[in-house]
Symmetry: C2
Subunit: 333 residues, 2 copies
Amino acid sequence: MPVTIRDVARQARVSVSTVSRAISAPDLVRADTRERVLEVVRGLGYQPNPAARSLITGRTGNLGIVVPDLGNPFFPSVLLGVQARARESGNSVFFCDSGQDAVTEEELIRTMARQVDGVVVCASALDDETLAELSTLTTMVLVNRALPGVPSVLMDSAAGMAAVVEHLAALGHRHCAYLNGPVRAWSNQFRRTGLREAACRTGVSLHELGPYEPTFQGGARGVDAALAAGVTAIIAYNDLMALGVLARLAELAVAVPERISVTGFDDIPYAAMCGRPLTTVTMPAELAGRAAVELLLEQLDNADRVTRSPIRELPTALVIRATTAPPAGPARL
Amino acid sequence: MPVTIRDVARQARVSVSTVSRAISAPDLVRADTRERVLEVVRGLGYQPNPAARSLITGRTGNLGIVVPDLGNPFFPSVLLGVQARARESGNSVFFCDSGQDAVTEEELIRTMARQVDGVVVCASALDDETLAELSTLTTMVLVNRALPGVPSVLMDSAAGMAAVVEHLAALGHRHCAYLNGPVRAWSNQFRRTGLREAACRTGVSLHELGPYEPTFQGGARGVDAALAAGVTAIIAYNDLMALGVLARLAELAVAVPERISVTGFDDIPYAAMCGRPLTTVTMPAELAGRAAVELLLEQLDNADRVTRSPIRELPTALVIRATTAPPAGPARL
DNA sequence: CTGAAAGCGCTAACAT
DNA sequence: ATGTTAGCGCTTTCAG
């Protein structure tokens, strides 16, 4: 049987309220009483029962995060940031993987809503209506997704993609393929925007392929179509796909970057570790996690005040490594 | 204001106890009453307040998991397994990263202990005494660590390492280097055991180097020493290190596997995705996560019964890919 | 089979 | 500055 506030009160010869105050509002009790109480608290190893506390305060001290795919190293990084910031503010964090499935995601958010003060939803697969409805259930912050009325952390991926295209154009590429990720995904659309705009501006012709799964396999799958299109560079939706592209290209004995250039997006740790370090766009994933919690905390504090819908936009940056170079004429099978 | 059990009771014209029973012990209420109640429950979208429930039942419905480094893709996989199994059993899961720091880890476990029914501790950095003490705070299951009295999920890494050595020996290697991970880590010791035994048995001479950080950088750092030792194969503590070894070797223009063979451990996804797919030992990470929860659940059900200390041992397997080949004389700088 | 009532451990008025 | 008291929302005896 764990020690309760009563045990502490008895042994410190004070009332339970004094114990409660000594812990949650120390300046409301006289210094020596406080010391005596805290002494006993330490001695007994007392820790308040969070359930009881939550029942009355209405706060759980818990935050939640829902990600689409923990297998994508981008998300563990976000998790890291979320947890770090949450811990600083005395919160714990629930975690869930939706497996990129909208139905699962909705279910998970509903379940979480009951036991957290707020939830961070990453790269949601849900449509606007559903998401809007869910956002009424609990305080919500979106990552890599925008929705009127809901605060979100965005990464400027349009700018990132634009930088990729400009880099490729500067290298002399005129025909590039884009391997689409999930077409309905907000971030794919956003990336495409930056892509098209920059392609148009720099005069490179863009061959849009896909959609493909945003995975290693998905990327590998897109290669043949890209090669058939006679492009000199392949722009992948994300790093995982780019890694798949690289592998398939190696299988086909197409030299990278001599015959064809390849770019990724996200700058996952392995982008730098692989045989031929990947040119990609770096995303401040951990920072995004921290920012999301920050937004959550702000909402929580402002409880009843007018809820604006702040959008935190984080910068992205092109990282040029070893998979891009000037073109050497169209690479065909 | 969320809907409470009273709202349901009122609208269904029954007492709160009936509502409670209709939900948690359906067979205790007459079918038609139950239907009426559940109807209202659905209509109102009622969900019991977990804090209130937990206060009285003593169960939180939450599980926790502590990992040393989410940046190592092995652990997201374990998380995935934990979460999947937890969800099947109606539990939520708290997650924490200790950053490989013993003090942080202890603190995290203490905090979690209050709000979960049980906790899965992965690759703990804690000493036996501390861990034993913490295990009295809540139900605990260890992953990749053994401790008398505490159930654990182990992966047979000794066998895995033995398989690596045998494979190398069969290829004709006589001098191998082992790049140690954290020496105090239980899993490093276990891996070393299998290593030494097999080395002895197959007559290969082992050069133990390190310890190094179990990361990409750590692996890269170990290469020069290994080369200086004149070995023909480098056995890394884990895949991350092996990837670092590969990168450093590439920098040094030492051909893999022609001049030197390299092996990893864990079979993280990128082991197969990198330029030269890594020969490694596959660890059933996700399965381990599931098994850990299973063990936890068993403990929880047996509450007061004699607690044996079951050890679930999961098999590992050598995966031969492209970084191992017969030796070509000692590779020196 | 259903209802009434007693708390679970804690915090937050309200007194003193 | 400290104590008293009334619940938070729910489950669980105990009656009926």
